[in-house]
Symmetry: C2
Subunit: 227 residues, 2 copies
């Protein structure tokens, strides 16, 4: 009754994509809750975290089972290692979406600080990075993965700009401190989601090409001595 | 010429402990740089990040190699999965220490906001969690790992207290905003390091007992902040 390895791998891939769709939806909904001042949406985001946590464990356990019983090698082994890493990043993206929703709940108690322009833009950039990193994974598309890594710079620039603007609010008017601080934490969580999408894109490159691009400039590193 | 599996595993364990010692030292040094207003220490922390990044990749590659060539099973397989997860958490602890050092550089440009009492205390709690989570790993001591998970509550309590205090500073005196914000970001990074130590402790329990305690009621949940 032993299933074939590629069927097992395909089930894991499907579960990971379901997880990706869930957390991407959480980020979108958390942003919508900010723009529409809708606490019900915040609650939905916070509640869906449980499902994400369970899915993370399910995916991890499926990977461990395959590793332990089917002894995959080469590209299949790299696939499973990539799935375990991507799984962890997706779960943390879900956590960041929850953090954003919790800040929005605090903000909705007070009048709006300002019209939001940069923050929705930041959120769109970040959501696109998550979506494209998973597309790159499905299509084994390293060029797309490299694009995702590059777009992290735009996110960092926008985050720094928002940070300075919000700091100025706080300094100029003490009444804005609490709201500006929550907006700052929301921006920070967005920036962190972009980092996770970048991690995912790097894992895709490792999986497809068998080289590790973390902490490098995109140029393959010289071979490192074994431990 | 094939080395025995347990020798390979032991090398990985040694490398992981070296990594743990490095990042724990970075957290200690970043805290010292804050208390002694010493920019040189900040630079040392920021510079050691490179070494941590390389060690992370070395450890990961060693694990992949063992997985791909020695096909470990049962407890050895769980050990390797735990090492890869702990490795990733240690690298992120290093990143948090760098974030702290970068905030300290900004703080050292300005007169001190207040005598630091809670922050060094928070740092000590957090460093002890990192150290004890790795001790639990070495000794396969699940009781110690469970203690680490429980001490996360004390860290969360102290973080919330610091957050409220710093927010009050910002609201009462606009001149303190920038400094209070950096202290807040430092506290936030400490709290995040405690979360990583908790993850490590949970991985130890998975490795020793083969059960997954994440997101369960067996151990306090990985904490999520209201802010």
């Amino acid at each position: 009754m032993e299933r074939r390895l590629d069927q097992d791998l395909d089930r894991v891939r499907q579960a990971l994509l379901r997880m990706g769709g869930m957390v991407e939806g959480m980020v979108a909904k958390a942003t919508q809750s900010l723009l529409e001042r809708d606490n019900q949406l915040c609650i939905e985001v916070i509640e869906s975290d449980n499902e994400v946590d369970h899915l993370e464990i399910e995916i991890d356990e499926a990977c461990h089972l395959i590793l332990g019983t089917k002894q995959p090698t080469a590209v299949d082994l790299r696939f499973l290692v990539a799935v375990m890493k991507i799984n962890s990043d997706l779960e943390r993206i879900g956590d960041s979406a929850v953090n954003i929703a919790q800040s929005v709940v605090q903000l909705n108690d007070q009048p709006p600080l300002k019209p939001y322009i940069d923050l929705p833009h930041l959120s769109e950039l970040v959501q696109a990075m998550v979506r494209r990193s998973l597309d790159a994974f499905v299509r084994r598309d390293t060029a797309l993965a490299a694009e995702v890594c590059q777009s992290d710079d735009a996110v960092d620039g926008l985050y720094k700009q928002l940070f300075r603007e919000l700091l100025t609010y706080m300094i100029e008017d003490p009444k804005t401190v609490s709201r500006a601080l929550h907006l700052l934490l929301i921006s920070r969580n967005m920036e962190r989601i972009a980092d996770h999408a970048t991690n995912i894109a790097e894992d895709v490159i490792y999986y497809v090409e068998g080289r590790d691009l973390r902490h490098s400039s995109g140029v393959p590193e010289p071979t490192r001595k074994a431990i």
